[in-house]
Point group: C2
Chain length 240, copies 2
DNA sequence: ACCTGAACACCGTTCAAGT
DNA sequence: ACCTGAACACCGTTCAAGT
């Protein structure tokens, strides 16, 4: 169909249910992938099934998506984009709480998203933007930068499955626009930059620069939980 | 064993580096899979590469492992088995701390294991055994069962990426010995059974039995972290 | 009882070509 | 510039045999 050669705007046939046409575009591909995963589960999303869904040959997707990893990263970006802004009061505790619960709600709307996010955790721009906004709530609420750093680690596992080092997560597909604008990152994500700057210190042993101690951060978060439970226990129970 | 036809013991050639022979067995397959993933990364572990490593044809593995999922479950079992016992003082806080850190150490020894564990979280017997032991430390230390339930949820995301419902995790491959001994589970894992019993209550609305409220558990854990940080902040900072 | 060989129904992705 | 078609190099897994 189409007849794109001359006529202005060929009205799409609209008889076909999953109407393709009018060119793909990256966002249309990502949107379709998210919808397909919502409906059929992430495990049955393949380049081939997605192409069929869009009424197109598999290879057509590769014009808008580098490969399947890029597709998955893009799908996560879509979900993160759905988090949206939350009202801020200037008090970090209720503000952070609201924002984390909003993030959770977005993930729950797409049940496959948590698994995908955990399996890759690529630091795409929307991802960094969300984290930066969260850090911003802490610091503008007056929490010291070091404590903010640690609580971000502690929340990491809770918001999504960040196993280890928040900042050591795999950077976005390297080759992409990332390298081009790498130097612009501190400007775009000033709160993350502040944390990174505070976390870096000189190792007295080797004299080399060293990042954050993931074992220490793990124990910090663990003790936060255990101490908190202990407090709840003595308050409700023994009352001495 | 070896020359099973007649001769007593055929000495293996020993010229081949990754000496196969003497029959496979499930544990030998799992052990080899763990070693291979340690050395080459989980993404390059396939039924075919593993078979080659064992000097055997791919299909030979299927006699000892139901399929690839079962292989991955088995590999996780091996890691969980490496956690081993930890000394208990009778005070839940140091005891739990020690045990969780031991679990983390086991996972860190095999860097692929966290991702595999998160991606499936099958409730195999060793898995249940570890969780039961952890619950046991809380209850024998005197922590109330409800609080123990909640802190297990809070620790869930921390020990490994359990996103949601601890007890709603996919049960072990169904068909297996699981169903056969399903009724024996409370006896084998008494502490988990106690938690499950305490968590189930009648919904006043519908009158139906209802399990634990994962949203509430999430918020409990979130507030545990936020409250803890707030306490650290006022103690170190404002001091008013 | 355990292992083999060949085949099947899939993957993601490349390459050269079409319009 | 965008899409196509056919092919390649892989997967996990089945089935019917071998010993």
């Amino acid at each position: 169909m189409g007849g794109a050669t001359k006529g202005r705007d060929v009205v799409p046939d609209a008889t076909e249910s999953s109407a393709p046409r009018e060119g793909l575009s990256r966002t249309r591909v990502l949107r379709a992938a998210v919808d397909y995963a919502d409906a059929n589960g992430i495990e049955s999303l393949t380049m081939r099934t997605l192409a069929a869904e869009l009424g197109v040959v598999p290879m057509a997707l590769y014009k808008h998506v580098a490969n399947k990893d890029d597709l998955l990263d893009g799908m996560v970006e879509v979900i993160v984009g759905e988090i949206g802004p939350t009202p801020a009061s200037g008090h970090w505790k209720p503000d952070v709480r609201r924002r984390v619960l909003a993030a959770r709600a977005a993930l729950l709307r797409h049940r496959w998203s948590q698994a995908v996010l955990e399996s890759r955790a690529a630091m795409t721009a929307p991802m960094l933007g969300y984290l930066d906004s969260l850090v911003g709530l802490f610091v503008s609420g007056g929490l010291p930068i070091d404590l903010t750093h640690s609580v971000m680690h502690a929340l990491g596992n809770r918001m999504w499955g960040f196993g280890e080092d928040l900042f050591a997560a795999t950077p976005p597909s390297e080759t992409e626009s990332f390298n081009a604008q790498k130097d612009a990152l501190p400007a775009r994500f000033p709160n993350l930059a502040a944390i990174a700057a505070a976390a870096i210190h000189v190792d007295p042993e080797s004299g080399r620069l060293t990042g954050c101690d993931s074992q220490a951060e793990f124990e910090f978060a663990l003790d936060l939980v255990l101490d908190g439970v202990e407090r709840l226990d003595v308050r409700d129970g023994k009352e001495d």
